[in-house]
Amino acid sequence: MKVGLFIPCYVDQFYPNAAIATLRLLQKLGVEVVYPSKQTCCGQPMANSGFEHLTKRCNELFIENFEEFDYIVAPSGSCVLHIRDHLHDDKNPEAAKRISHKIYELTAFLTGVLKVKSLAAKFPYRVGIHQSCHGQRGLHISSMTELVSPEFSKPNSLLNMVQDIELIHLDRKDECCGFGGTFCVTEEAVSVKMGKDRVEDHLKHGAEYITGVDMSCMMHMEGILKRLGSKVKVIHIAEILNAE
């Protein structure tokens, strides 16, 4: 099994540790992982802003970089959802379709494809999990409070394999943090208020770390935590699953 590692642009630039942890974790689990170095971005920042017509080159680059792999794995629900739903290439429609079927968010890959049953990780902290909307409501990696359906959570099932971790309870377990791509600057007031409220829920329940599958939500909440002068940190789930 050959896996292509897709590292979203902002993770590449600002959160290399999340990417390194993803790589190391997959390697530890015996997967052959290759990182194609000419990758850039899934195109979501433009598309969600209404400029999907500008994503042509991003789409072509994505297909060029990732077509050869059996699976594509990324430490992000949001970027994976974008590729699944919107990757297209008029010259190569079949390749785009194949990719959208073989791309996975990390925790979905670990639970669904690798079927991981145990991990050697240890993380002795109180951790709040943020359910990023695109992973949850878009990729269905967890059940959703709105739907009348059995409860499950792929990220939580993995975190429960981590030694000494304490997962905290939240009042609103799947409310959006307000990042929303360019929404975070075009609707600054509401975005910040949503972020403050989300962070407050974690602080109130004694979190030492806030984790999740999407660093974009974490980046937004980190910005708020830092401005508040809080010592609480954000951390990508891969870093916890890879912690020793």
């Binding site: 630039q13 709105e146 009348v148 609103r172 075009t186 910040v192 949503m194 409220d197 980046m219």
Partner: protein, 461 residues
């Protein structure tokens, strides 16, 4: 409000100046969302009900012409006068004519978001006709000279103390009263006199049944019934999408409507109106006002399945923190944001962007409208039609150039991180909306790409 030049982001920013109020607004609506969850989870077949409702409405939309003609035929047979209005203006003129024919200059009206959409009250006021809204929440906002901020809970943005103040000013109660029981009794007394003296009553329509030519009006206060039963003339205004094929389908919708709206099992009153009483008149106005245009938009037609429960508003984390008035349209929130651009793309170009696309709206929708996906699609349509702000266009083009070339992207990333590290004032300033209330991420010395080249170079391509 309709004439405001501020967009959603600006109006939301105004709303957020009073954080305690935002918290109160958010928690009030979140409480309703929780009630909805609780009652939905008591129905094991909830998801199947949603699917059934969605399919029934899909059938209605695909056969709208036939159902409308059938409804008209049966309604006329029952003794109802049926009118057709192509747009808001025609609707308002028809209502005006019917009031004039009754030789009166005042009317009582129960809650009808369609008449808000059509601007009926303003139109009639200009023609010297007084309209009194009889829904408690609507009466309150009417006295306050504001539009409703929510389609089910029109004055959810007002605190009981403020309502006491409004009643003190307009209904003559003493100052500083905020007891909900007392305030409700006051409104009740005030409205009794209205019900008894108005000869014309207008109601909305929740469901119209093609098979029988009857229509159903759902209220909790019974105010629609009080108005309609005491008047000589009952006018019911409905959007043409309110039809359902047969009476048996009503059960599906009545089970979903109020559970989704407020968490109640059913509305207190679900009143069927089939024919006028002897000597009285009953009119139905079938209003298009852009609905057939929306029906012709492949990506947006199923927004017409909406039964106006407002579950998408109660669950929307943006709505709860920006308030209904920030949407500057009659139907606020996520559903309003996909309906309004159909009526006026320029005026409502901001609304599809007032969302994080979190998808909660689509999950609570009792008729399974893919609201957040339509928000995404409206964004594409609006930009293609030239309604994107100029600065955003430039920004997006720059971003596209950067992300379309791996070499350029890595250079820009490296330079950007160096600037952030050595000249943080370049980004940490008031021109950067991110920085206003959030710190910037700390720029690492190397990107993952650079780390990989150094540490895993052997597999590097």
């Amino acid at each position: 409000m309709e004439n405001s030049t501020k967009d959603h982001a600006e109006l939301a920013q105004d709303f957020n100046r009073d954080e305690d109020r935002v918290n109160w607004h958010d928690e009030t609506l979140w409480f309703i969302r929780q009630k909805r969850d609780k009652t939905a989870h008591q129905i094991p077949e909830w998801e199947a009900l949603r699917e059934a409702a969605s399919q029934i409405k899909n059938n209605v939309l695909s056969n709208l012409h036939n159902y409308l003609v059938l409804f008209e035929k049966n309604a006329v047979t029952n003794g109802i006068v049926v009118h057709w209005a192509a747009d808001a203006s025609e609707h308002n003129k028809i209502v005006h004519k019917l009031i004039s024919e009754a030789n009166v200059n005042r009317m009582v009206k129960s809650k009808s978001m369609l008449t808000e959409e059509c601007g009926l009250n303003e139109y009639l006021a200009e023609h010297g006709i007084e309209v009194i809204d009889s829904d408690l929440g609507e009466r309150i906002v009417q006295l306050a000279e504001e539009p409703p901020s929510h389609i089910v809970l029109p004055c959810i943005h007002k605190k009981k103390e403020e309502i006491g103040e409004i009643f003190h000013k307009h209904l003559g109660i003493e100052a500083n009263i905020s007891d909900p029981q007392f305030l409700t009794e006051t409104a009740r007394g005030h409205l009794r006199e209205i019900f008894l003296t108005r000869k014309v009553a207008l109601t909305g329509v929740n469901f119209a049944i093609a098979e029988t030519g009857e229509f159903v009006v759902c209220t909790n206060e019974g105010n629609a019934d009080m108005g309609a039963h005491l008047a000589d003339v009952h006018i019911a205004s409905m959007g043409i999408e309110k039809l359902i094929p047969e009476r048996k389908h009503l059960g599906v919708f009545l089970r979903l409507l109020t559970r989704s709206a407020t968490g109640q099992p059913i509305t207190t009153y679900s009143s069927h109106f089939k024919k006028p009483r002897d000597g009285k008149k009953m009119h139905v106005i079938l209003v298009d006002n852009g609905r057939t245009v929306q029906l012709g938009r492949k990506d947006f037609r199923n927004s017409l399945k909406c039964i106006r429960c407002a579950a998408c508003m109660n669950t929307c984390p943006v709505y709860r923190r920006s308030g209904g008035h920030s949407y500057h349209t009659a139907v606020a929130g996520p559903i309003g944001s996909i309906l309004a651009p159909n009526l006026d793309m320029k005026k409502y170009a901001d609304l599809p962007f007032a969302s994080t696309l979190c998808g909660s709206c689509s999950n609570v929708c009792p008729v399974k409208i893919d609201i957040h996906e339509q928000l995404y699609k409206w964004r594409q349509v609006l930009v293609k039609n030239g309604y994107a702000p100029a600065a955003k266009k430039v920004g997006m083009q720059l971003m596209t150039w950067t992300l379309s070339s791996p070499g350029f992207y890595h250079t820009v990333g490296k330079v950007g991180r160096l600037v952030m590290k050595h000249a943080p004032f370049a980004v940490n300033n008031k021109l950067n909306p991110w920085f206003k209330q959030r710190d910037m991420p700390y720029p690492p010395a190397e990107s993952f790409n650079e780390w990989y080249a150094k540490n895993e170079g052997k597999t590097h391509r």
